[in-house]
């Protein structure tokens, strides 16, 4: 009755997953709890209060944080989208296009953003932008974000593509599909888990970046990390915890919605 063993299960993997989730969420639970703290300090509990949430929406700094959040999301979504597209094309070239000139160094090139220490990229990019007469602003942030997001999008996508045999597309071509059709109808759907992984990684990397952004941003343009940086460095302020909790809430709502939409789509079928 060996067949009865569920081959997908390995003893110990489930506890590992829970451990993983625990480690990821434990510090955030602290953040959430203390965002309801009446007291200014993180060390003492001063009773339950919503005052920091009020501060986020109506406090003196609320305008700054709102603008920063909007900038951050626009930049993160755009940078993640662009870099995912670029990375998908690059992965196709590397794994599906046979030999071409410059293939040898391409792998190193794509991973270069990962290898240069952030502070060096930051200083070098700023010097470069000012040398070519680019005014720093949102565009400079966006460009540099696209660059350093590429390897984070590329590696999961390429890893996925390596697992897909070429025979599917060849079969499609044998049935007179154009190469574009083969790409769009065969490769892309098969690639989706890799592309989603890559997009998510690029998104969180862009959303989180401080060092490079701080150097290449224009005066007065804030992203979330640069806006909260000062209020966090010397110990987290409660209003920052409230903002973080709200961000988590937004992400959870986002996930729930996408799950519901996905389920509806399934039911209709």
């Amino acid at each position: 009755m060996a067949r009865k063993i569920d081959l997908r299960r390995f003893p110990g993997f489930l506890p590992m997953t829970y451990l993983c989730l625990f480690l990821l969420y434990a510090p955030l639970i602290i953040v959430m709890i203390y965002s309801f703290n009446e007291s200014q300090s993180i060390t003492n509990w001063g009773g339950f209060s919503l005052r920091w949430y009020g501060e986020v929406f109506w406090g003196v700094e609320s305008e700054k944080f709102k603008a920063a959040a909007i900038h951050s999301f626009i930049i993160a979504i755009t940078a993640a989208t662009c870099s995912t597209c670029i990375a998908t094309l690059a992965a196709t070239a590397m794994l599906r296009a046979g030999r071409f000139r410059g293939k040898g160094i391409s792998f190193a090139l794509i991973n270069l953003p990962l290898m240069v220490p952030e502070i060096v990229t930051a200083v070098a990019t700023l010097i470069f932008f000012s040398a070519i007469g680019f005014t720093t602003g949102i565009l400079t942030i966006l460009l540099s974000h696209i660059v350093f997001c590429i390897p984070f999008a590329y590696l999961p996508i390429a890893a996925r593509m390596q697992g897909i045999e070429e025979v599917y597309e060849q079969a499609a071509q044998d049935l007179y599909a154009t190469r574009f059709q083969a790409f769009k109808l065969i490769l892309l759907p098969l690639m989706m888990p890799g592309i989603i992984s890559g997009f998510l990684l690029a998104f969180i990397i862009s959303l989180d970046d401080f060092i490079i952004t701080n150097f290449v941003k224009g005066a007065g343009i804030e992203t979330l990390p640069t806006a909260i940086f000062g209020s966090v460095k010397q110990g987290i302020k409660p209003n920052i915890m409230a903002i973080s909790t709200l961000l988590l809430l937004v992400s959870v709502v986002f996930v729930t919605l996408s799950w519901l939409v996905g389920r509806m789509g399934q039911n209709r079928k």
């Binding site: 300090s41 700023l126 010097i127 949102i138 005066a219 007065g220 640069t226 940086f229 000062g230 209020s231």
Partner: protein, 344 residues
């Protein structure tokens, strides 16, 4: 999907365009983080109808690096510390103004008027000043704390429980005072002694942290720690039973200054802002927020009582602090080596 893309493209275009527009009446400030209340900036913006933007930095050196890498011409004013004013002036990064251009120039406290780093105040005005030494948790150690032995030859209770500022200049300055040698000495034996002192004391130090200097004292992670006086006052208010020391060997005094940057895009507004900060009421607002001491006369009446009477802000009579010196290149090279050796 297509409509989604189009909407997104227009959102993106709008964002890019909106930030590209240059409005009249702007002021761009490069400031330390957490060092000016937002209300004060709003007040200035409302009073003079100027759009104020502010970027922040976390150390004098970081500010210098970013200005040098290409941000000159972006900001109107910056807030460097004392020795950094001198360095920036030497680099030709500062613009000059005449005292007559600021109607409140006379409000500058006399002792801060003719300072070594900007004689006659032609590029800078005082912002806040304070001192750097250390604070000790009185639950842990009850002996005399007004000696730099606490850091550099600690009693058994404090060994391994000390946090140092992660700042080369301040650590080496206090260590030099502890040894009784001048700052930026070029005497080889003295420099060797300095190096030996730091090497021998490293095991007594638990961590290096500047931003966390308050936090480690409040949480009890450290029982003693190098810290700035205003920061220590905040730690005390948050419930730490700590006392700020004025060591007899000496302590560091610093002053932050608002400087007029060269190529300032809005020079006139920059001067308006500097003048605004010399108004006692506004200077007091900064002091109440940051808990350091203003360099402007007449602020006392506007101060909150807890700030005006904070023990951290009044050194005992007869004890004077020293400014950190900007060392010449050869000595700085040795300092860098000592610092790297300490943290290798």
């Amino acid at each position: 999907m297509n409509t989604l893309l189009k909407t997104w493209a227009s959102v993106l275009a709008l964002t890019l365009a909106a930030t590209g527009a240059q409005a009249e009446g702007k002021l761009s400030i490069y400031h330390w983080f957490e060092y000016i209340p937002q209300e004060l900036l709003d007040k200035f913006a409302a009073e003079y109808d100027v759009e104020v933007t502010m970027d922040t930095f976390d150390s004098n050196e970081a500010m210098l690096a970013s200005l040098k890498a290409g941000k000159m011409g972006t900001y109107d004013v910056a807030v460097p510390g004392d020795y950094m004013v001198e360095i920036m002036a030497g680099e030709g990064m500062l613009d000059r103004f005449e005292p007559s251009e600021l109607s409140n120039f006379g409000n500058i406290a006399p002792q801060w008027l003719d300072v070594g780093f900007d004689p006659g105040r032609h590029s800078s005005i005082p912002y806040q000043w304070g001192s750097t030494s250390f604070s000790v948790n009185r639950d842990v150690y009850k002996g005399d704390i007004n000696t730099s032995d606490i850091l550099f030859n600690p009693p058994a209770e404090l060994q391994g429980k000390i946090n140092m500022l992660d700042s080369q200049g301040e650590v080496l300055a206090l260590a030099s005072m502890h040894l009784g040698i001048p700052q930026c000495t070029s005497d080889r034996d003295q420099l060797k002694a300095l190096n030996a002192l730091l090497q021998s004391q490293k095991p007594n130090w638990a961590s290096f942290s500047s931003d966390g200097a308050k936090d480690v004292l409040v949480s009890g992670d450290a029982a003693a720690g190098m810290i700035w006086n205003g920061f220590s006052a905040k730690a005390r208010e948050e419930g730490a039973n700590i006392e700020y020391a004025f060591p007899k060997e000496g302590f560091v005094v610093w002053m932050d200054n608002v400087v007029l940057l060269k190529d300032a895009p809005n020079r006139a507004n920059a001067l308006l802002f500097m003048n605004f900060l010399l108004e006692p009421e506004n200077a007091a607002a900064v002091t109440n927020y940051a808990q350091y001491t203003s360099g402007v006369t007449g602020v006392l009446v506007f101060l909150e009582e807890s700030v005006a009477n904070a023990p951290e802000l009044s050194p005992p009579d007869g004890q004077k602090g020293e400014f950190i010196m900007a060392c010449p290149q050869e000595v700085q090279a040795v300092y860098d080596k000592i610092w790297t050796d300490l943290k290798k």
